[in-house]
Symmetry: C2
Subunit: 291 residues, 2 copies
């Protein structure tokens, strides 16, 4: 989930006669039965499954590695995930309808919405302006709608939206989120949290609770740690200022419980207009100075 | 799914000291892993699972049989299902919080939204004014949102909403729906289809197609047969008037393909105001004269 948690892949497929074409892929998945996005030997991952399907559909000489906007953890879902892959232009041009073919090749828990040549300068990871995640909670004694149980956390105590929002507002902005990030040697934990708010679905008093989080990027487990710090506030067990105090502490607080993965969904990744892509990718590759 | 497909259950639990209390249960379920609503020996059914949980939670001397508004088939889901059960008033009153206890006792693919004593004259099946079903279709080459794939049919050809609606309008009204009902000895197939329309979710051009069907009652497989007759119209393969011609034919047409169960969800059951419940139950128990 971080912009800094892996180096960018270099194209691995041999160029062939016509060189490589960068292809953008928009996709969604039900993360329940995947060991996360990132390929891992012997495990069923989204990346590995899509790379296999692409290699089959485009008859690639070898798996071409995907670069992704949001490296989701095991159990985390996506509706608006974006990836890119560099493939031999000949192979790409030889296929009459890669979208349809991928639809047939992929399992039902992955859906590719769109696939096509990327604009010049596009990089799924480094050109992204921001990522938007949703965390969904059914609070109270009534279990979630069974048809949505795979993407909704059931929290058996009721939560107060106004308390959640009051506490969330104090976390918004450019901060060092080290207190909510899994430690990673050499990585910065400074992020700009542009939005963090809660509402009930359809604004109904018994609606599903949905947290919306928008940031330039998220460090590992950041959304789930933030939600975990806010829940005790929503229950009335902790003060509205507590999550901001944890943030200021700058170290992981064992009192913050990271919430379950299955309530989390990557909903959208936003990129700048085509003519600003390369500039954006250049900017985000630079090391960021914390403040 | 019919008002006439089973006789009303008689209360089976012994009355005990205080007699019986009729309890109304509002619930939803993911039908994927159930062999339908109705109890069948050796099979996992919604009715059997809820009856078991109720017997455990309320410490009933024996399973008390549920009467339901819509007897859904295997694979069909529900969000707004309603049932009633007659239980010894002593057992009911002895439990401090049956809603919470059922939430803990039931599996994640059933959710009870509400449970409590029913108004006088209430009968989940016979007092219902109408039932509302939704049938959801993702049309075109892009697979459905994986998180909703259990409740959405993937139809790989695109469908035209205006054609679907034009054909649907001709089916609305009081008709003998024998052409769309599985034959059942002695049962009437006259139904009043109050609403049958299609829209795209969120009115987006690429939104999920949702058919809404409202009727006083539906005979067995009626919704899925109606949708199956409309799909070729939406594809442009059949004339807008074809489904109405099938209706007039009055016998099942082998050209009508009954669509898959998993796209179908019982969304809502509507009852009259409390003071009109008994009157409504009396009316719907009378045999209906077709026209």
């Amino acid at each position: 989930m971080s912009e800094l948690d892996a180096s960018a892949h270099e194209p691995a497929a041999p160029p062939g006669d016509g060189g490589l074409v960068r292809v953008r892929i928009d996709l969604g998945y039900d993360g329940t039965d995947f060991s996360g996005w990132a390929s891992q030997p012997g495990l069923r991952t989204v990346q590995g499954t899509v790379e296999d399907a692409l290699a089959t559909v485009l008859r690639l000489p070898a798996r071409a590695p995907l670069t992704v906007a949001g490296r989701t953890d095991a159990g985390v879902h996506a509706r608006g995930q974006v990836a890119h892959v560099d493939v031999p232009v000949q192979r790409w041009q030889a296929h009459p309808n890669p979208l349809r073919a991928l639809g047939r090749a992929l399992p039902a828990d992955i859906s590719v919405h769109a696939i096509g040549p990327a604009a010049a300068g596009f990089d799924a990871r480094f050109a992204a302006l921001w990522r938007r995640y949703a965390y969904r909670i059914r609070d109270g004694v009534v279990a979630p709608d069974p048809l949505r149980r795979r993407e909704v956390l059931w929290h058996r105590r009721e939560l107060d939206v106004e308390l959640l929002n009051a506490a969330s507002l104090r976390l918004v902005g450019l901060h060092d989120f080290a207190a909510f990030c899994r430690f990673r040697e050499g990585g910065t934990t400074v992020r700009e949290l542009a939005e963090l708010n809660w509402r009930r679905d359809g604004d109904a008093p018994d609606g599903l609770l949905v947290a919306t989080l928008v940031a330039d990027a998220f460090c590992h487990s950041m959304v789930r740690a933030l939600v975990g710090a806010l829940i005790p506030v929503g229950e009335g067990r902790r003060d509205v200022g507590w999550p901001a105090q944890v943030l200021l502490g700058g170290v992981r607080d064992p009192l913050v419980q990271v919430v379950a993965a299955h309530g989390l969904t990557l909903e959208e990744v936003r990129y700048p207009a085509d003519d600003a892509l390369a500039e954006r990718a250049h900017l985000t590759r630079r090391p960021r100075r914390g403040q």
